[in-house]
């Protein structure tokens, strides 16, 4: 154990003297801090925007009261007044923004048919979302492997190239011990930095301190260890430093870019999403067709779904709101299957990625972190379902006014249901990710050990 400590000590002296290594460590630290800063500002901006929505709604209600100074027809209110379904970020979202910048985090709703409103997107700069987020997850998943490679690509080859290897071997120490000590030293620095940045991020973002602290740190540590296993494997081949650098960068490129891009193609081929355009076209046809259908036919269809309103007055007028909202809703009913298919197809896509992400550790870990922070596609789909339920609640709130023909007073605005949804983490996904991550690590490490045994025994 003493020898181990001696090597570590000299590694530390070496490290301290090497300006290049210090520089990349410092760079990693700075990019990590920037990632935390970026993530937290992004999420606090989203929070601010969400808080602003209640002001917009309040302003809208004021406008409504001016437009309808006395009692109003609830039909008019339903048509002109809008409210929001909101998707609050989980307290952890700042650490891994996931798809929160692409999918809208609020949905503006009127009493009209839901399917024409549910998919409206927010103002998004496509170039920005194309380039992606510089959040802590990006730093840990993309840049940390590069940091690890930068620190360790020549961990063993440099001894050969500097001619210090024979010297080392002449000492009465085990070769495995040298390699273990050198890698441990680097792992110590990298893990220290990763844990430090993660804790800083958690503190900065003021996350709810729950079991996810352990889950996050565990995932990060295991991910870094996986990369050290890769380093070990490549070092065990005993090639030149240049070969190692190229090979390691090649592996990084393969795992973080090439394989994910190929998987993406496969998913798109295997699970196309024709439902989106189909449902958008069909819902418009049905809703606008509603104007031309006999009112009785529309109402009977509607009453079969909502028998509680059946005995309300028969419609003789050319236009009446309850008929209007009945065919609006029937538009949703007509595309309910397509809408469900659409959601299911997106879930299938996610599931397919889950099944395939064993091929790329970074994809797996990104999925784990997004699941942990409630920022993935599933979290958004859950929000859409919650928004759908909110729309149901709105309809249930307005229907008595419409069908019993009760006037809508200024006091009634405050009684309108409000919506609030907070993204929830998907812990079960994190666990299945762990399982695969551990497997990847063990596999790489064992292969490395195997090569090491063969090559280094020959060396002696």
């Amino acid at each position: 154990m003493n020898k181990f400590r001696t090597i570590i000590k000299y590694e530390w002296l070496n490290f301290r003297a090497d300006k290049g290594l210090l520089l990349i460590t410092l760079l990693t630290l700075i990019t990590g801090l920037y990632g935390i800063y970026y993530g937290t500002t992004e999420i606090s901006r989203q929070r601010q925007h969400l808080a602003n929505l209640s002001k917009i709604t309040a302003h809208d209600v004021e406008n409504m009261k001016v437009q309808f100074p006395g009692e109003a027809d609830a039909g008019d209110v339903g048509y002109y007044h809008s409210t929001f379904a909101v998707n609050h970020p989980d307290s952890w979202a700042s650490l891994s923004l996931g798809q929160r910048d692409i999918n809208p985090y609020y949905i503006k709703l009127r009493l009209l048919n839901l399917q024409s409103q549910l998919y409206d997107s927010d103002n998004i700069n496509p170039l920005k979302v194309f380039t992606g987020n510089f959040d802590l997850a990006f730093v840990l998943i993309y840049l940390f492997p590069l940091f690890i490679i930068g620190l360790s690509f020549n961990v063993f080859s440099i001894e050969k190239e500097q001619g210090t290897l024979p010297l080392l071997l002449s000492q009465p120490i085990n070769l495995s011990l040298i390699v273990a000590a050198k890698l441990s030293f680097r792992a110590f620095i990298v893990l220290g930095l990763a844990v430090l940045l993660s804790l800083t991020g958690m503190f900065w973002a003021q996350v709810v301190p729950d079991s996810r602290i352990v889950l996050w740190l565990g995932a990060i540590v295991l991910y870094c260890l996986f990369w050290f296993a890769v380093i070990f494997l490549v070092a065990a081949l005993q090639k030149s430093s240049a070969f190692n650098a190229i090979t390691l960068l090649g592996i990084w490129l393969l795992l973080t870019m090439v394989i994910p891009a190929l998987l993406n193609v496969y998913v798109a081929l295997k699970k196309p999403v024709p439902q989106a355009l189909a449902l958008t076209i069909k819902q418009r046809e049905v809703v606008h067709g509603g104007w031309d259908k006999p009112k009785e036919e529309t109402m009977n269809k509607f009453f079969s779904l909502y028998p509680q309103w059946r005995d309300t007055t028969q419609i003789k007028e050319r236009f009446v709101w309850r008929w209007y909202y009945a065919f609006q809703h029937l538009g949703d009913v007509a595309v309910a299957d397509l809408a469900k298919d659409y959601q299911n197809r997106l879930k299938e896509r996610q599931q397919l990625v889950e099944n395939l992400n064993v091929l790329s550790v970074p994809v797996n870990v990104q999925g784990m972190l997004n699941a942990l922070t409630g920022t993935d596609l599933l979290a958004h789909l859950a929000f859409m379902q919650s928004a759908t339920r909110y729309h149901d609640a709105l309809r249930e709130f307005y229907y008595p006014f419409l069908f019993n023909q009760v006037a809508f007073t200024h006091n009634d605005y405050a009684k309108e249901p409000q919506h609030s949804f907070t993204s929830t983490p998907q812990i079960s996904l994190v666990w299945s990710g762990y399982y695969k991550l551990a497997l990847s690590f063990l596999f790489t490490f064992i292969v490395g050990l195997f090569i090491f045994k063969i090559r280094f025994l020959n060396l002696k």
Partner: protein
């Protein structure tokens, strides 16, 4: 001598099994990306064409409707893929594909590919552009990092110089040799791309497309050349191969991974994007100040009607030769769409300011310059997206006004029940979109062209000057 140096580099690279293996991988990826890109192009294009045809068919064969009902029924603009976008998807996967065009309202463009994907799509897409922008430079680095350091390490540099060739000649010879090799890797794929483009009947081959392709290829050749010279220069400045390699890889990581992301994020932090909710609320408040075609109690509409009576010299609206409802609708549409347009332009302006940071950074980073230029030639950049939105808005406005005109001329005042047959709707031309010409695209590319030329100048003039001063041992 110079020729033989070039030839030596060419041959030794060909004999290097590792380099050959890498080249074959890159070439295979390029071919795969071409095939994948084409397939995805056809799938998406087909899906959108079918959708567009379907809505056009619905419109032309619509049930008998009142013209203003038809204006609310509206139409859709599905964004067609531009022909060359199979080479560079650019922003296409992150922009909406379906835009509902209705009276009184500008809608958002919905259903982007990215919204339908898990976070996997954020890792990047397999396109020809991705390989040309990211992987070929790595291949170049791998090929060239030892250009001078190896000669130094084996002592052959001094030998060569003693033969009477200058450092500059050696450098040029090496650059020439490496360029040939890169050409050998890239040419088959580019040839295939061109061949596919020429042989596919699905593409409307014209001068514009050809010019876009040539400029696309040209920009990448300049980009590769910059990387080759840069690598040779860095190699000359270093004593050891390993340090040259590490420096070059550092440059690659910084310019291809870190800087682009930082630039986009910085832009978004500097210029805040207003939310759609806020923008809609602002539009709503402003539109409320103008004529409302649907509100009979509206004062401005009443004043407008009074003016009409004066203009036509009649006593009541019923006596007008035209339907006042249609005219009020038209006036209201003109005013509201102006408000929408103003806010749309403001939003687009903010996005452009955000994006300009990355454009200017092209001067520091040729990757950003070539990325920007490549998307533009492929017709998948931000400017092309805005162009489509503007064309769609113009169509929406004209459609609404055409229908208002029909209401004004073919339907009586206060008549809400008359329905016109689809013979009327058939006369309205459907939405058609074609990408703007290459000249239009180039106008947005002045920054990236300057950046690429600047870099070319920088590596050729300053780079070689640095080589002249390099220490030989």
């Amino acid at each position: 001598m110079v020729k033989s140096i070039a030839q030596k580099e060419f041959l030794s690279a060909l004999r290097d099994a590792r380099f050959l293996a890498l080249s074959v991988i890159v070439l295979l990826l390029l071919l795969a990306a071409t095939v994948v890109g084409l397939h995805s192009y056809y799938t998406l294009q087909h899906e959108r064409e079918m959708a567009q045809e379907e809505v056009n068919h619905h419109f032309a064969n619509s049930a008998d409707r009142h013209p203003h009902r038809m204006a609310h029924y509206g139409s859709f603009a599905f964004r067609p893929k531009s022909s060359l976008s199979f080479l560079d998807f650019g922003l296409d996967s992150f922009t909406g594909t379906s835009l509902f065009l209705e009276a009184h309202k500008q809608n958002s463009s919905n259903f982007s590919q990215a919204q339908q994907s898990s976070s996997l799509i954020r890792f990047g897409e397999m396109t020809v552009a991705f390989i040309l922008q990211m992987l070929i430079p790595l291949l170049i680095i791998f090929l060239c990092y030892g250009a001078f350091t190896q000669e130094k390490e084996t002592g052959t540099l001094q030998l060569m110089l003693s033969q009477g060739v200058s450092l500059r000649q050696i450098s040029w010879a090496k650059v020439a040799g490496y360029s040939q090799i890169v050409a050998l890797v890239v040419a088959p794929a580019l040839f295939l791309v061109s061949l596919l483009l020429f042989s596919q009947s699905g593409f409307n081959l014209n001068a514009d497309l050809l010019l876009r392709l040539l400029l696309f290829i040209g920009a990448y050749l300049v980009y590769f050349f910059i990387f080759i010279v840069l690598s040779v220069v860095v190699s000359a400045l270093n004593k050891r191969s390993s340090t040259a390699l590490i420096s070059l890889l550092g440059i690659w990581i910084l310019s291809c991974i870190i800087l682009p992301k930082a630039a986009a994020n910085l832009g978004a932090n500097l210029y805040t994007t207003p939310t759609k909710a806020q923008l809609d609320a602002d539009v709503h408040d402003e539109v409320a100040q103008s004529i409302n075609g649907h509100n009979s109690a509206d004062e401005r509409a009443a004043a407008f009607k009074k003016q009409l009576l004066v203009k036509y010299g009649v006593g009541s609206l019923e006596q007008l030769p035209v339907n006042a409802d249609g005219l009020v609708m038209a006036a209201s549409e003109a005013q509201s769409s102006q408000v929408y347009q103003k806010h749309f332009n403001r939003l687009t302006g903010i996005f452009q300011k955000q994006n300009r940071i990355a454009e200017y950074l092209g001067l520091l980073n040729p990757y950003l310059a070539v990325r920007h230029f490549s998307m533009s030639m492929a017709g998948s950049d931000f400017a092309h997206y805005v162009h489509y939105q503007k064309v769609a808005e113009k169509y929406r406005y004209n459609l609404a006004q055409t229908l208002n005109h029909i209401q004004a001329t073919q339907v009586k005042y206060q008549d809400k029940t008359t329905r016109l047959s689809n013979a009327t709707w058939k006369q309205i031309p459907p939405f058609r979109y074609s990408s703007p010409g290459v000249g239009w695209a180039l106008k947005n590319q002045i920054n990236s062209i300057i950046a690429l030329l600047f870099w070319l100048f920088l590596v050729v003039v300053t780079g070689f000057k640095l080589i002249d001063k390099t220490k030989i041992v």
